[in-house]
Amino acid sequence: MGRPAAVVSMVRSDATQAASYTPEELARYEAIVQRYARHVYNVAYRMTGNEADARDLSQEAFLRVYRALRRVERDAPLESWLYRIVSNLYIDLLRKRPRQRVESLDAPLETARGELTRELPDVTANPEAIFERNQFDSTIQRALGLLSEELRMVVVLSDVEGFSYEEIAAMLRVPLGTVKSRLHRARQMLQQRLRPYLEARRRGWEE
């Protein structure tokens, strides 16, 4: 699926000609914010798993849109470009923080009294918690956080934001087959981790 060349070239935006935007151009920027800001923030949040990084990342993405506004074609599909920015910014973020360690929830926790096994919240013991939005959100968010960023990006774009394989391939500039296999692997891993939780949740609803 071809994207207009003009949209692609905007990535190399460095000019700061912002001061001289006309009211129409500013209105166009406002329309872009209206349309995409929540989605961009949501993807950033699901990728980073915390509010501060999600905010920085999505603000930076919109700052780039703002700077490149003149080169954004009218009515051009921005999604591909915008989510690629988010993805690249996220990779930059990871590079800047190599010390941040990804902990597997399966690994035992070392303590002074010996090893402890970590558990995802045991919702069967507390049926009320099943219905708590926060619990659901944080459990899935944690499982997402354990995926590699490649798998996470694909599964967030597909299952959280609802993009097609073709759209995701264009956003991330990877072949369609790669999207397909990454998504499948991501779902399998999530399913393994979330199965007890999701089953308990379903039983909770049936009761």
Binding site: A37, Y41, Y45, R55, K180
Partner: protein, 171 residues
């Protein structure tokens, strides 16, 4: 088209998403009829996908909106020199403006006052005496041409005693 169990398993996600071609879709359906393990795997994938779809959208904080709606202020913060110089410096710093005006006035006033005082002094004592005094005064300053001052003072002396100045006499 028939699929083995492994291949069918690999296609379950794409089948779930409706991203398979018609022939593949039919083949996966056939396999699912026969294979309980794949039906279960399919159901697990479906539940997982549904759970991700049910995640509530993360609500951006107010600061996010403030920045994204008005990124211009960040541009300014990033490049302070550029926008500041657009305002004339004297408008931004009235104290500097007043100081500058006072300095110009002082620079103009000092020679004006000194010139007036000198002229009054010259009329009082006579031009030639004044020139002589002034030449002597100046000879104490380090960078003056003392030989020339000596000549000027000498001429003034000659005039004072009633002789014509040498310079005119030689010409």
């Amino acid at each position: 088209m028939t699929l083995n169990h492994h291949k069918a398993g690999q296609l379950l996600s794409a089948y779930l998403d409706g991203e398979l071609a018609a022939a593949e879709t039919a083949a996966v359906q056939d396999h699912l009829m026969d294979c309980a393990a794949c039906r279960e795997a399919y159901e697990d994938l479906r539940v997982t996908k549904a759970a991700l779809g049910q995640l509530p959208p993360a609500e951006p904080p107010a600061e996010f909106w403030a920045v994204v709606r008005e990124p211009a202020w960040r541009e300014r913060a990033a490049a302070p020199a550029r926008w500041r110089w657009r305002l004339p410096v004297l408008v931004r710093r009235p104290a500097w403006a007043i100081a500058a005006v006072l300095a110009v006035l002082a620079l103009a006033a000092v020679p004006m006052i000194k010139g007036t005082v000198d002229r009054l002094h010259a009329t009082e004592i006579g031009v030639d005496l004044y020139v002589r005094e002034h030449a002597f005064e100046m000879s104490t300053e380090p960078l003056t041409d003392r030989a020339y001052l000596g000549l000027v003072a000498g001429d003034a002396d000659l005039v004072l005693v009633g002789e014509p100045p040498r310079a005119e006499g030689r010409r």
